[in-house]
């Protein structure tokens, strides 16, 4: 007998699934507030476009491609888990982790370049927002990759396959946040 509640009678859905949707709901408020604040300041400060012109669109687009691909791999892992193929699900999850690591590597290179060119978090309000928003998002990517590694290890043994869907939902949300960060930070110049 497992000492955990596996379903919620009130919501009629598994506890883990309900929990991950609550996480997503709270994240909407966190990132939503951040993006709404950015938008307010961006619209009321024309000078921000001068600063935004220094962000690298090619790097931002590459990272968008990486995250969209990793989302596709995560949903493929979910499809494999639904069929009960734990090994295949684990393999797709490891590919997704590869995507996360690529994203972080590209972001590190980008930040290194920007910082060495004098654009630091204290340069001005635009860069403060830029590093805060992208930094919080990158932390979510790193956290997701760690959790995914734990889920993949279990899934490879054919255990806890329902968790593949749960980490997938979180991962797709991280992707959605980037979908909005990309035009805000890299396109609107």
């Amino acid at each position: 007998m497992r000492p955990i509640a596996t379903t919620r009678s009130a919501s009629g859905m598994p506890t883990g699934l309900l929990a991950v949707w609550w996480v997503v709901a709270s994240e909407i408020v966190i990132f939503g507030g951040l993006l709404a604040s950015y938008l307010m300041y961006r619209l009321s400060h024309d000078s921000w476009s001068e600063q935004a012109a220094n962000t690298n669109t090619a790097i931002g687009a590459t990272n968008t491609f990486v995250l969209l691909t990793s989302s596709f791999l995560a949903v493929s892992a979910h499809a494999a888990a639904e069929k009960g193929d734990g090994k295949k699900a684990a393999r797709y999850l490891w590919y997704t982790i590869g995507g996360a690591m690529t994203f972080v590597a590209i972001k590190s290179f980008e930040w290194y370049t920007e910082i060495t060119h004098g654009f630091t978090i204290t340069s001005n309000t635009f860069w403060s927002f830029y590093y805060t928003a992208a930094g919080i998002h990158a932390l979510h990517v790193i956290a997701g990759a760690f959790i995914m590694a734990i889920v993949a290890r279990e899934a490879a043994k054919g255990l806890e396959l329902h968790r593949v869907e749960l980490i997938g939902i979180y991962w797709h949300f991280v992707d959605i946040v980037w979908i909005f960060l990309f035009p805000l930070l890299y396109i609107a110049k």
């Binding site: 859905m13 939503g32 709404a36 307010m40 619209l43 687009a61 069929k83 396109i187």
Partner: protein
Amino acid sequence: MSEQEHEHEHNYGKVYLILLVLLVVSILGPMLEIQVITLITAFGIAGVKALLVARKFMHINEAPKFISYVMTTCLVFMMLFFAGVSPDVMESSGDNWKKNLKMWLYSPPPAHHVSHAPEGHGSGGH
């Protein structure tokens, strides 16, 4: 059932390709440097991409209805925050302050209270 699952997998590939095409459009559109097209291609397409990911990858439409309501409520609260705060944040001037291009500057109130006060006697009886 397995046929349905296969169809699902097939759809994932199709959705992924659509997302990539939308990504290319969102990069190329703003290159025309026409504001309306930039807004539509960058931000409009971001909304479409997010909706596609939520529906096709997160399967939000297959979750119980209340999940969609909770997510929508969070989004509405975000918009309320924007609507409540932006009229003030986006003001260009207010009581004792004026915004210039890069920062907010202290802008003293009209000096009529002190202008007639004799030097060294403070600001008068106000």
